[in-house]
């Protein structure tokens, strides 16, 4: 990791020295070794606290839409982040020429909740290499196989390598197995209709409508989300099965062909609610029916956002 961080620092320094970018979005160390934070560097800032490891939980593409189009943004991207950036470029949220993507092949994000479940909460130290993750809890070291503590979305990741980065730091990794991506969707589909509904209810109805899933998602950048619209109100804001289910279903639908399966929504949720099974299923439909996967280039419109005059299907009934 330290080698990679050194490379990252020198690349960022170069970008500022050669006046390529105005700001670089990356991660920095925080007080707790377990919680690296999104960081925003500008020319002249010290890069001393720059961090990169498998604990970096957030999808940095989320911050892209906060800048005016003129801002030249450098951004550290892993596989999913690079695809989110592409999807945002397609949706004209930032011009490609004002972006510099610093790509890092991604070994997956570690899910802290999986670790503390086995150790206890107040983990103090952290180390990682290719295979192993180790933490210190109450002066004792605990070691885990990386695959046992990766976030579920990362276990299912198909494209860990950044797509069309401007520079790639580190060696490309083998692509993931689409079969694994299928598994979660498959086990959901294997349930009966009633079981599926019960599962959905159990997940959705714990929701406290904090909208962290929305705010953590790069593709949820609407100035006004449908749940915030007033009047008319599209959903109840009251915590009720109807309002909460509507929130979960519509949020997922709005991601169709746009979600890059990064899992940032699930990692942000304070109520441990599962939601990627919905978006992954929608993405699977996109792939099967339209041969489209979000963010694999920065020009192709997602099927539901595009139209053409030769469309073989009639438009509205």
């Amino acid at each position: 990791m330290s080698e990679l961080i050194a490379k990252l620092k020198s690349e960022i320094k170069r970008l500022f020295d050669e006046d390529v970018v105005d700001v670089v979005i990356a991660f920095k160390k925080a007080d707790s070794p377990l919680r690296p934070q999104p960081a925003f560097y500008r020319k002249g800032d010290s890069l001393e606290d720059l961090e990169y490891n498998s604990l970096c939980q957030n999808n940095l593409a989320n911050y892209l839409t906060r800048y005016p189009h003129e801002t030249r943004i450098g951004i550290v991207v892993r596989g999913c982040e690079s695809r989110s950036v592409n999807a945002l470029v397609v949706e004209k949220q930032h011009p490609r020429e004002n972006l510099f993507k610093i790509g890092i092949p991604c070994q997956g994000i570690v899910d802290l909740r999986k670790i503390v479940k086995q150790t206890g909460e107040d983990v103090s130290g952290y180390k990682e290499d290719q295979e192993k993750i180790s933490v210190v809890f109450k002066n004792k070291e605990y070691q885990f196989d990386r695959k046992d503590v990766l976030h579920d979305s990362c276990l299912r990741c198909v494209h860990p390598n950044p797509v069309n980065p401007d520079v790639l730091l580190g060696d490309p990794l083998p692509e993931g197995d689409p079969g694994v991506l299928r598994q979660a969707v498959e086990s959901f589909e294997a349930l009966t209709k009633q079981e599926r509904y019960t599962w959905f209810q159990q997940e959705a109805e714990r929701c406290i409508r904090c909208y962290a899933c929305r705010e953590a998602c790069p593709m949820c950048y609407c100035t006004e989300c449908f749940v915030d619209h007033n009047p008319p109100r599209w959903t109840e804001s009251t915590i009720s099965p109807a309002g909460t289910q509507a929130w979960h279903i519509i949020r997922a639908f709005h991601q169709t062909g746009r979600c890059t399966s990064c899992g940032a929504c699930e990692r942000a949720c304070p109520m441990d609610i599962k939601m990627t099974y919905l978006t992954d299923k929608l993405n699977e439909d996109m792939l099967n029916q339209y041969d489209f996967a979000p963010g694999m280039d920065d020009t192709t419109q997602p099927p539901f956002a595009s139209f053409n005059l030769d469309d073989k299907n009639r438009f509205v009934a």
């Binding site: 939980q57 406290i208 705010e215 804001s237």
Partner: protein, 340 residues
């Protein structure tokens, strides 16, 4: 008075109480914990080093609370019954109990008492449990509390080997434990040592002296741009916070109800006005409101900090923003000329 409650008798005493009161205990849900009604099969989550993730303020200020119903036939509003059955909340942590007392100054003030809040508060007995090994994310002692603080509680438990020592703090709890055997002097001493040790294990997280003045001074400074830069603007820190109490009243027309829902200053629409103008247009102003409310405006109102150091916002912020670090930065922020 101090009693010894043997752990193996805990379920029995809870079921006895449950005959008369509605009893709430912390229970595990997925990987988090929450106060839920006690039943014989309840799996108690008392072992955690800290409070429940979902805050017990919801027992008094539910996330959604029906205030009135509209009757279509009579074309009239109907009151809903606000008086609950007598309640007993078992296993409250001191930071959360203190928060109830702080919130009483909002919902049960001299000039106005909120009937919904007050009815539930009056009907409730709070049995606390102290935190023997406070985790690094908690900082109650920094803000005037402590892992065994008695503020707001009717009784407090300290865990011993195989039992709990119960300290009775108010009349409300007096009779609840009367059937138990009293603690020995030795046990009392042991508990005192445990409590002191827990308290002393927590070092100050930031300087509170002069912090309010400092925050007031840097109200217009670039400090807020820096600390809010990574904030997502979600509702986690405030919804889970035991002292955040903002709400929004809506008419759920289809269900013919007027409902009070939690709201938060971290949401854009919270301060959005009907004209379209938003006096807190960005996360900078919203983050500022959150911190200023807790560390300045509460002091203006009741001369107490409106944060009990419960650590929830620190633990669950999805971008790892830590209010303690923010306040340390505020303390060292050079006052600068007011920027335009």
């Amino acid at each position: 008075m101090m009693y010894i409650l043997e752990k193996k008798k805990l379920n029995k005493i809870l079921s006895t109480w449950a005959q008369e009161h509605e009893v709430f205990v912390p229970q595990k849900v997925e990987e988090y914990s929450q106060f839920l009604p006690y039943t014989e099969d309840s799996e108690l989550a008392l072992k955690s080093p800290h409070n429940t993730r979902y805050p017990p303020k919801a027992l008094f200020l539910p996330q959604s609370e029906v205030m009135l119903k509209f009757n279509n036939r009579t074309q009239k509003y109907e009151e809903v019954n606000t008086t609950p059955k007598s309640r007993l909340v078992f296993g409250v942590r001191p930071c959360d109990a203190k928060a109830f007392r702080l919130l009483d100054t909002v919902f049960d003030a001299e000039d106005y008492a909120d009937p919904y809040w007050k009815a539930k508060r009056d009907a409730t007995i709070l049995i606390g449990i102290g935190c023997e090994v406070p985790p690094s994310t908690c900082f109650c002692t920094t803000v005037g509390g402590g892992p065994f603080n008695q503020d707001g509680l009717d009784a407090i438990l300290t865990e011993l080997e195989g039992s709990y020592l119960v300290q009775i703090l108010t009349e409300k709890a007096e009779t609840l434990f009367a059937s138990l055997s009293p603690a020995t002097i030795e046990q009392e001493k042991q508990v005192e040592a445990i409590q002191t040790k827990a308290h002393d294990s927590m070092s100050p997280a930031f300087e509170t002296d002069g912090l309010k003045q400092k925050l007031d001074q840097i109200f217009e400074s670039s400090y807020w741009d820096k600390i809010s830069e990574s904030c997502l603007g979600c509702g986690i820190c405030t919804f889970l916070c035991p002292t955040c109490f903002c709400f929004d009243i809506v008419d759920e027309v289809q269900r013919k109800e007027r409902v009070r829902n939690w709201d938060t200053c971290m949401f854009r629409i919270y301060s959005q006005e009907a004209s379209g103008h938003n006096p807190r247009p960005t996360r900078r102003e919203r983050t500022r409101q959150r911190l200023m409310h807790k560390y300045s405006y509460w002091l203006d109102h009741i001369d107490e900090i409106g944060c009990t150091g419960c650590g929830r916002c620190v633990r669950y912020c999805p971008v790892g923003l830590d209010i303690r670090a923010m306040l340390r930065t505020a303390n060292t922020h050079e006052s600068e000329a007011v920027h335009a």
